[in-house]
Amino acid sequence: MRSFLNPLFALMLAAALAACSSTPTEDDSSATDDMSQQTDTSPVTPVEPSTPAKPDTSSIPLTADNFYNHPSNYDGTTDSRVIYFAFDSNTVPAAAFETLRAHATYLKNNANAKVRLEGHADERGTREYNVALSERRSKAVEKFLRVQGVSSSQIQIVSYGEEKPAAFGHSEMDWAKNRRVEINYTAGRP
């Protein structure tokens, strides 16, 4: 982006920035993967869904905005190993409930099985702050599993922030793919 600015425009921009830089900057809360304003009371105790029959989801378009909650990302079994999150959120998406319950059931039935919940954030914001934010996502998934009765000794949490992206681009869709918790079995893999 910067490389397309011509030098004159760049100088004008610099002057404009300098002129306004000591005035209060506008307070936008729109552009970071930041759920720190949320309290830690995310709805992790789901109500049983009333419609057990799987709806046909092929007609729902997949966008960066609904990616985290799109049925195509979760198959309801332990084969699904990635839980996605909305922008600025550490709320476990409803579309992932069935998948997480499958993991919980498996873990309860296999006491030797262990999972590592690896939390990730998108690239926006500072690196260590993103590590802290990604820990909140892992903890939300941990809480879900614990509420289902999984023993804490079967769960380990590690927080990578933006250091291990799944998608390497810089678009909204790349960011949606990177806001995630990966469920990795370190023992007793299903």
């Binding site: 982006m1 720190s36 690239e123 702050y129 990578y160």
Partner: protein, 434 residues
Amino acid sequence: MKSEFWANKTGRIGLAVILMLSALTARAELLIRVTEGRVDAVPIAIVPFEGAQNAPEDVSQIVQADLHRSGQFKPLPAEDMLSRPRNESEVIYRDFRVLGVEYIITGSMKAQESGGYEVSYALFDVNRQVKLMSETYRPPVSQLRDVAHAISDRIYEQLTGIPGAFSTKILYVTHNRKAASPYQLQYADADGHRVITILRSKEPIMSPTWSPDGRKVAYVSFEDDGLPAIYTHDLATTSREKVSSFQGINGAPDWSPDGQKLALTLSRDGNPEIYMLDIATKQLTRLTQHYGIDTEPRWLPDGEHLVFTSSRSGGPQIYKLNINDKSVRRVSFQGAYNARPDVTPDGRYLVYVHRRNGNFNVGVQDLQRGTFNIVTRTDMDESPSVAPNGSMVIYGTQDRGTGVLEAVSIDGRVKVELPSKEGEVREPAWSPFL
């Protein structure tokens, strides 16, 4: 104002061996480009040193590149010089005054029988027509670059009153995801030359920082089973020690000014809090108590206070902590996102990441006058680190989707790019004076 030059001497004809060596090393080096200089940069003429053409390193070129890179000097191209004095007796001030040049540097490089070089230089004031200083060094070939940077430091201090920071190093993380060990921790001279790799890893390396004596670094590495741990690492002996590997986050180390403690972030007690680790005794002291995120601590020069990022008021803001009574006071008030502070050596300015209109930029807050200035204008700027003389801030940003380093003067008037040729470069940490 856009001018470009290569920090390494690609155009020079020298011994085949030297050309081969530079071809081998140039790949990994950071190439420096001054994208904005000051309009009032001081015109200076660095006359090519006598004998430098045949030397393995051209000291006059290195000095010229250093002074140019500061943004405060505008070197006169050698081809524009009306005369090329080799010493004081050959200086014709008029030849430089008509070109608007204010200072002249002359010098020579003479090969010694011992295998080293004798490097002499002199600095002249064109308007007053006097010699301001002159010195002679006798380094081995391996230290020619060090001598060049030392000369730059001396000249910079003579002309600006501020010690030069050309003899310092930059520590940084590289990421090349196609490599067998994608994550590397490296350091290089402040001009990007002489890269040394400290650590290669398949797992992330984060948050590198220098000890106050410049002999050690600390960093976060996930090398051990993908879990984070903080290491201290002696650069000369390459011996290292794992100093923190608690459950949860082990992050954001920062060395205390006396070198005896690390401030760090741990989530062992449930959520991220700031702790202080005594490196010798391993005694751990918890400094913050809050259910929000507390992280990214940085010591103030007094050794009694830290600044850090906290979400205790909602989004991230900068707070100041007294390590004795653990009292906490908010310091940043503009905008909804302020994080990852660094501090100038005099403690006067805070430098941190500020979000505005969805862009992340580096802002400078003057703690004395209370003013705040945004000094960068790309859109993913992060990890600002202040030079030990307080003149420049180096930071990570993105250029066409790739992580690169840039530096900006604390007043925002000078901008320098250090693009890497391969992979991502990020999290720069400027060394103390070495």
